[in-house]
Subunit: 494 residues, 2 copies
């Protein structure tokens, strides 16, 4: 069994780290110097979860099916519905009981999109590399032509008053590292609505990117119900730099054509699956990811990787000789990217049992290597979990990460004080690809995905098997506002 | 003067490196331990060339004018003609006598372009990120739909015989570092013609790239006069990987729509300018770059940077109190990218004086930091040039680079045994941007451009001022073939 050959050195290393005696300790070892401590967990189970996750390549193969076979999965699209059926088939093949739960989702559809800097005495003009933001209004069929006004914050926009009337507001910023995403994502999420209220005719937002080859990054923008809606697109960082340079030299006019449209809401689904607990089936450890993606690229990191990880964790746990103490429930949320309708539908449908959700995780930061464990729980969480960490040491994830656990789709569970846990991955390169046509399978390293999958499987088992449960965190002083457009798990990189 | 403040420490350092006494040597220094050696060159001139190149930012400002102001410059286009006029104005403003020389150039025009992997039982289908190759034939208006056959070499294509008839040949390869460009560029340059001769209906070529965010790289492809011409496009490396994965699972059909067209040749121009030599004006040191670019991006690295460097070198040399011994001639070639017509026109028009071209350089590997000096000359070249290198030490370019000097536009001068020289730049990132829409000003580091410009200015002066001239290299055993589609200066990275 490949699992055994892999796990042996790792488990030896972990035993040594934890002070336990190696299984094959030579008879001549001075017994007095080695303290025999039984680990908190079954090493046989650790081998059966981590070994296959690292050696079988099952999660990566599944990710290839989802990305190459299904492709983009914007909520409300045929791709999203195909993904729902694919996930159901996958759970069935894995021997994990799965079902769907209904979710009404918006149906925003991309159309033609192009733009240009118009010629002036200072330039012969330039095409703009842009992409409509999800939720954007369309332009008139022959486009929107207007002067550009640059701002770097919502405050700067407010200071301009109604001088932006009829203009295109250009939200520029200085994102350079993943941790900047949280700082600037509000420009994309709320900037166009603020510009619309001030009378602007359109909005352009610098892509939220840490690398670019003229690659624009889409994402959701939100207009108030009944409020004004305007065309809103992201431009590549290169085009943002160009606009900035040209605006330093004089007035700039651009033309933008966006053919997107908002169709009536459609019925879609969360996919839910369970491995029923052997002792406390009423206690639920929820592990999740989101099945929808943006409509460009194939959502390999965002969030195909998370889907592959949690499905594989469930598959491996279902194959154990005995189920863990508690129920492991997988939720593949629909519509994380463009409204969080799936998250809210789940929280509403399962409101009565949220008090029995003893831990919840969403994997939604890409299929990168694991670097630690996140928690969001009441007092004593780390002490409870620490004895279960040794199997993660050789994966690079055997310590706690400073970032609090979370996930956009978990937000509606915060008022119910559900404890969160997570496997932190290395997000250094995440925003190179995030929400672009370049979020494709080739960007996911099979080794990294296997290691994170192993960590997810083990942490899920740990939460479902450990004798106690995490203390529930305090309820927030103010209830969470409208669904975060900045997923918690993405709010700060490292 | 900023120049003086910069140059002082550098020239001190160089004097020490070369063993010369510092200008401000303290009277108490033990004279016996310091050997006074006069440098081969005037340090005052070195200061007047290198100081301003490093401190005034003139080359970068000029590159901004060319890229932001003029934009793309595909030969035969309005942008190319605007660049000709811009260059003439620039030389005039610099006090450098400039003129145009006629060149007939092809006029190939990009049209609509899109493609898709068609749905099958293994996939819901995928859009392809592709870009027509320069010289491609168009498809029928409703596109070309055919099965894909993958090959990794021209030999592999030949081995398939006429089994490729009616199919789309997909040239895949393993480029990962700049040095691979020379190995694989033949697949782009000659692959489609070979596929056409074998009866293929179209060709797709994996982009020649060292980084990708789904960014396809264009470039020239060549069909034989009177031979069959087919639609030919580059796909991004991601799409090449996708095709490769899908072909491993079964047959793949794609649809490609290319609306490009080949219009009649048009009159264009090389731009030539001169600083006349003070003693041997009949001896010519030619420094060059190419004014045309691809039609996507703004040709910032390829080859706006080279244009900015050689124009700035001429400007600074023209400002010296006295002209160098020989004539410095700048040539901004037209149509390097898509036929080398400007290079051939120059060599033909100046055939009678090529024997008086004592050295020639083309800067065409991007605006990166300088890392050494290239030569291609007869015996004794390095010995002749070495005494002139000390001013380049602090720029990082004070040694000879193993790569032979060259440049696509210099190729027609090889039979006349013109010696070549060059400033080698660090091409590590060149093929991330080369021939893409991402070859834009933001990719050029002003510091790096300034340093390479300084090295170009100094080496040009050295060639025009040194007492002797480079021995002429041996004539090649076989005359150079058709103009290289792989520029010598790009044939191997490092």
């Amino acid at each position: 069994m490949p699992a055994a050959t892999f796990v042996l050195p790792a488990s030896l290393a972990l035993q040594l780290l934890s002070g336990a005696a190696p299984a094959a300790k030579p008879a001549t070892a001075p017994a007095a110097t080695v303290k025999a401590v039984s680990p908190a967990y079954s090493q046989a189970v650790a081998e059966k979860l981590i070994g296959p996750a690292l050696t079988e390549g099952h999660a990566y193969a599944r990710l290839a099916e989802l990305t190459d076979g299904i492709g983009p999965r914007l909520s409300g699209s045929a791709g999203a519905e195909a993904a729902v059926q694919w996930a159901l088939r996958g759970f069935k093949a894995d021997g994990v009981k799965g079902w769907t739960e209904p979710v009404k989702v918006p149906r925003w559809v991309r159309g033609e999109e192009r733009g240009e800097v118009l010629a002036s005495e200072r330039t012969r003009g330039h095409p703009l590399s842009l992409i409509a933001l999800g939720g954007s209004a369309p332009t008139a069929p022959d486009g929107l032509t207007a002067e550009v006004v640059e701002v770097d914050s919502l405050e700067a926009l407010a200071a301009l008053g109604d001088s932006v009337k009829g203009k295109i507001v250009f939200f520029n910023h200085t994102m350079s590292v993943p941790a900047d995403y949280g700082r600037f994502a509000g420009l994309r999420g709320r900037g166009p609505a603020a510009a619309a209220k001030a009378g602007a005719a359109g909005a352009l937002v610098r892509s939220l990117a840490t690398a670019s080859l003229r690659t624009p990054h889409t994402g959701s923008t939100r207009f108030e119900a009944g409020g004004p809606r305007i065309p809103a697109a992201a431009v590549s960082t290169e085009d943002a730099d160009l606009l900035h340079r040209m605006l330093a030299r004089g007035p700039v006019r651009v033309k933008v054509v966006l053919g997107c449209s908002e169709l009536p809401e459609v019925e879609s689904h969360n996919v839910v699956a369970e491995v029923r607990g052997r002792e406390k089936p009423q206690e639920i450890v929820l592990i999740s990811a989101h099945l929808d993606s943006w409509d460009v690229g194939t959502g390999a990191h965002d969030d195909g990787a998370g889907v592959a990880m949690v499905m594989e964790a469930a598959r491996l746990i279902a194959k154990l000789p005995q189920a863990p103490r508690r129920t492991v429930r997988v939720v593949l949320f629909m519509n994380e990217e463009h409204g969080l309708h799936g998250a809210r539908a789940y929280a509403e449908a399962h409101a009565a049992e949220l008090s029995r959700h003893v831990a919840a995780m969403e994997m939604d930061s890409g299929g990168f290597r694991p670097i630690g464990i996140n928690l969001r729980a009441g007092a004593g969480g780390q002490e409870l979990v620490r004895p279960w960490l040794p199997p993660l040491v050789a994966l690079g994830a055997g310590t706690f990460h400073e970032r609090e656990a979370g996930g956009a789709d978990l937000t509606p569970m915060i008022p119910a004080r559900v404890p969160f846990f997570g496997v932190q991955v290395d997000v250094t390169r995440y925003f190179d690809y995030h929400h672009t046509m370049a979020d494709t399978l080739d960007k996911v390293d099979p080794q990294d995905l296997a290691r994170s999958t192993a960590a997810v499987a083990w942490m899920t088992y740990a939460m479902a098997e450990m004798p106690g449960t995490l203390a529930r965190p305090e309820a927030p002083a103010t209830p969470p506002g409208p669904p975060a457009l900045v997923p918690q798990s993405k709010a700060s990189g490292q």
